[in-house]
C-alpha cells in the first residue's frame, strides 16, 4: 500500500538527541505513525514490524496508530531511519525532500536495526561507549 512519508521533530526524539546509542532514541527514531484505518487494512498490530520501501531503499520500522495522521500519509521523526530511504536529490536548493518521499509499506517479521548497523551498512564502523 502506498503512502507519503513525512518527517519532523518529536519531543521524545529531542529529549534523546544526545543519547543516540540509547534504546529510547532507537525506538522513537524507528517508529512510524500511521492512521489506524490504514493499519487495519494492512493487518498491522500496534508496535508490529513493517518494512518501509522507497525508490531509494528500504528500512524496517515499527508502526503505531496516530489518529491525527491523514490516511495515506505516515510520519517518522527525523533521524537515521527515515533518512535511510530519502533521496539526496535537492532540486538545486540544497534541501532534500524530507517531507515528501513516496513509500510502500507492508508487514514483516524482520527486526529493527540498531543505529550502528545502519551506519555500518554504508561503510561505517561501530563505536561502543
Amino acid at each position: 500500500m502506498r503512502f507519503l512519508l513525512n518527517t519532523g521533530r518529536t519531543i521524545t526524539q529531542g529529549s534523546n538527541v544526545e543519547h543516540k546509542n540509547s534504546e529510547a532514541y532507537r525506538e522513537e527514531a524507528s517508529t512510524c505513525r500511521m492512521n489506524p484505518v490504514d493499519m487495519m487494512e494492512l493487518d498491522i498490530e500496534e508496535r508490529a514490524s513493517i518494512v518501509v520501501r522507497s525508490a531509494h531503499g528500504e528500512i524496517v520500522m515499527q508502526a503505531i496508530p496516530d489518529a491525527g495522521q491523514a490516511r495515506g500519509e505516515v510520519f517518522v521523526c527525523l533521524g537515521p531511519y527515515a533518512n535511510h530511504i530519502v533521496s539526496p536529490e535537492t532540486h538545486c536548493t540544497g534541501m532534500p525532500d524530507f517531507k515528501a518521499t513516496v513509500v510502500d509499506i507492508e508487514p514483516t517479521t524482520e527486526g529493527v536495526w540498531p543505529i550502528w548497523k545502519l551506519m555500518e551498512s554504508v561503510g561505517g564502523c561501530r563505536y561502543e561507549d
Binding site: I11, H56, D66, D97, Y127
Partner: protein, 429 residues
C-alpha cells in the same frame, strides 16, 4: 549552589530564565526548563577522550595527537568540507570560517537542511520580522505554519505567544487568536482557534489563495482549495486583517515541502499584503540553539549565510551546488570536519556513505550516528554547561551563554584555534 538566569542551549528559543542547581561538577536540578532542557543539563553520557579508528578498531588517543591529525587531514585534502557549526558558539564559528578561507574549503551549516530555503527567500524579497519581545507584548494573532512548537520549541508558546501575557495583552490566552496550518493534526493544532489541514505539498497554493482573498479577489477562487474549504480561508483572512498586530511563525513544513524556498517567498508576500491592512510580521522557527548565529557569523565574514565555497580564493555561494548534501551526493569532498552537528543522523543515506568513505573527523561532546562514520572524534565542553560563548536567538538577538560547571574538556574554540594555528603555520599565512 543555585545559579539563576542560565541560558538553555538546546533550541532557537535560547530561554534565559533557567535556574540550575550545581553540586561539584554536576548539574543536579533544573527549574523553568522544558523536557528538552532538563535532559540536556542532566545528561551524563559524554565521550571521555578523543577516539581514533584504524581500520575496524577504535582506540583512545591524546588531545594533541587528535588536533595534529585533524590539521594534517584538512591540509592534505583537495576539497575539504567543514560542516555543522549550529551547535557551537559564535567564537568557534568565526575560527571555522577563517579556517575554511585558508584551506580553500567549503563551509556549510545545518541551515542547509532546515531554514536554508527561508534565507534564499529572504534574499529575494526581504524579511518583515521582529523580536520575540514585540510578539509577546503586542501580537493578538499568531500563525504557526508547518511548525509544531509543542514538540520542537516547547516554551515558545508560554514565553512569547499563546500563554504569555504581555504589555498590551493582559490575558493572553483569551486575547490572542492562534491559527495553525499543517498536514497533520499535531498537539499544537489541538489548541488552535483555527486549524487548517492542508494537503501535502499544497502550501504554495494555499498561500496564494490567502493572498488573493486579502487582495479582495477571493470570489475567483474555487470552493475548495487543496482540501481546504474556501470559507475557512475567508474566516482566517478576516482574523489576520483585523489583528492589531499579527505574527506568523513558520517551520520546516514549508522549507522541506514541495516548492521549498518559493513557499517561504509566498508566505512573506502574504505578510506584505496583510501589512496593507495592519501590522504583520513573519519569522522562521529556528531549530538548533545557534543556527541563527552560524548564519550571522558566516555572513559578516564572507557575505553569505551558508554553503560558502572558498575554492576560488574568494567566497562563492550557490545553493544546490555548494550545499553539503549536493557535495556529498556528488562524492566531491575528500575530507570532512563536522562540528556541533550529526549529519550521520540527518543526511540522506547516500551522503552518509560518502562520509564513511573519506576521512571524516568530528568535534562533538557526545557519541552520535556520525561517530560510527568517522575516523576521529574529539570530545569538547558543552556550550552553556561547561563552556561559554555567544549565541543568536531565533529572532536574531545575541545572548551570552554561561558556564555553570568546571570541566576538564576544552571548548570548541580552544580545539579549533589550535587546529587553525597549525594550518596557518603550514600554509605560511
Amino acid at each position: 549552589m543555585k545559579i539563576e538566569d542560565v541560558v538553555c542551549t538546546f533550541c532557537g528559543c535560547l530561554c534565559d530564565d533557567l535556574v540550575v542547581e550545581v553540586e561539584g561538577d554536576r548539574v543536579v536540578s533544573v527549574e523553568n526548563g522544558c523536557t528538552l532542557a532538563n535532559k540536556k543539563f542532566m545528561g551524563n553520557n559524554r565521550l571521555k577522550t578523543p577516539i581514533k579508528r584504524d581500520g575496524g578498531n577504535w582506540e583512545k588517543v591524546g588531545l594533541d595527537e587528535a588536533i595534529q591529525t585533524t590539521a594534517e587531514v584538512l591540509l592534505d585534502a583537495d576539497r575539504p568540507l567543514l560542516y555543522g557549526w549550529s551547535g557551537t558558539h559564535g567564537e568557534a564559528q568565526t575560527i571555522g570560517v577563517h579556517m575554511a578561507e585558508l584551506l580553500g574549503a567549503v563551509i556549510d551549516n545545518t541551515s542547509t537542511v532546515c531554514h536554508g530555503p527561508s534565507i534564499m527567500a529572504i534574499q529575494e524579497v526581504g524579511h518583515p520580522g521582529c523580536t520575540l519581545g514585540q510578539v509577546k507584548n503586542r501580537a493578538d494573532v499568531i500563525v504557526y505554519w508547518g511548525s509544531n512548537p509543542i514538540e520542537a520549541h516547547p516554551r515558545h508558546m508560554s514565553r512569547y505567544t499563546t500563554y504569555a501575557d504581555g504589555f498590551f495583552l493582559k490575558e493572553a490566552f483569551h486575547e490572542r487568536k492562534v491559527i495553525v496550518v499543517d498536514i497533520r493534526k499535531t498537539e499544537t493544532a489541538n489548541i488552535a482557534d483555527e486549524f487548517i489541514m492542508v494537503e501535502p505539498g499544497a502550501d504554495y497554493a494555499l498561500l496564494s489563495a490567502l493572498r488573493a482573498i486579502v487582495r479582495g479577489k477571493g470570489d475567483m477562487l474555487p470552493l475548495n482549495i487543496c482540501g481546504v474549504e474556501r470559507e475557512q480561508l475567508f474566516r482566517v483572512a478576516d482574523i489576520c486583517k483585523s489583528a492589531k498586530f499579527g505574527a506568523m511563525f513558520f517551520g520546516l513544513g514549508l522549507t522541506m515541502s514541495r516548492g521549498k524556498y518559493k513557499n517561504i517567498r509566498n508566505a512573506i508576500e502574504l505578510v506584505e499584503e496583510l501589512n496593507r491592512h495592519t501590522k504583520f510580521t513573519i519569522s522562521p522557527m529556528r531549530g538548533h540553539w545557534n543556527v541563527y548565529g552560524s548564519n550571522e557569523v558566516f555572513t559578516w565574514i564572507s557575505g553569505y549565510p551558508f554553503a560558502v565555497d572558498f575554492a576560488r580564493g574568494i567566497a562563492f555561494y550557490n545553493p544546490g551546488e555548494t550545499t553539503s548534501v549536493d557535495i556529498l551526493k556528488r562524492g566531491e569532498c575528500d575530507a570532512c570536519l563536522v562540528v556541533g552537528s550529526d549529519p550521520g543522523a540527518h543526511f540522506p543515506r547516500d551522503c552518509c556513505r560518502h562520509l564513511a568513505g573519506i576521512p571524516t573527523i568530528q568535534i562533538d561532546p557526545h557519541v552520535n550516528a556520525t561517530t560510527h562514520l568517522s575516523r576521529l572524534q574529539i570530545p569538547v565542553a558543552v556550550t552553556g554547561i561547561d563552556a561559554e560563548g555567544t549565541a543568536y536567538r531565533m529572532d536574531g538577538v545575541p545572548i551570552r551563554t554561561r558556564k555553570v560547571i568546571e570541566t576538564t574538556y576544552p571548548s570548541d574554540s580552544e580545539v579549533l584555534e589550535k587546529i587553525y594555528q597549525i594550518i596557518r603555520k603550514e600554509t605560511g599565512s
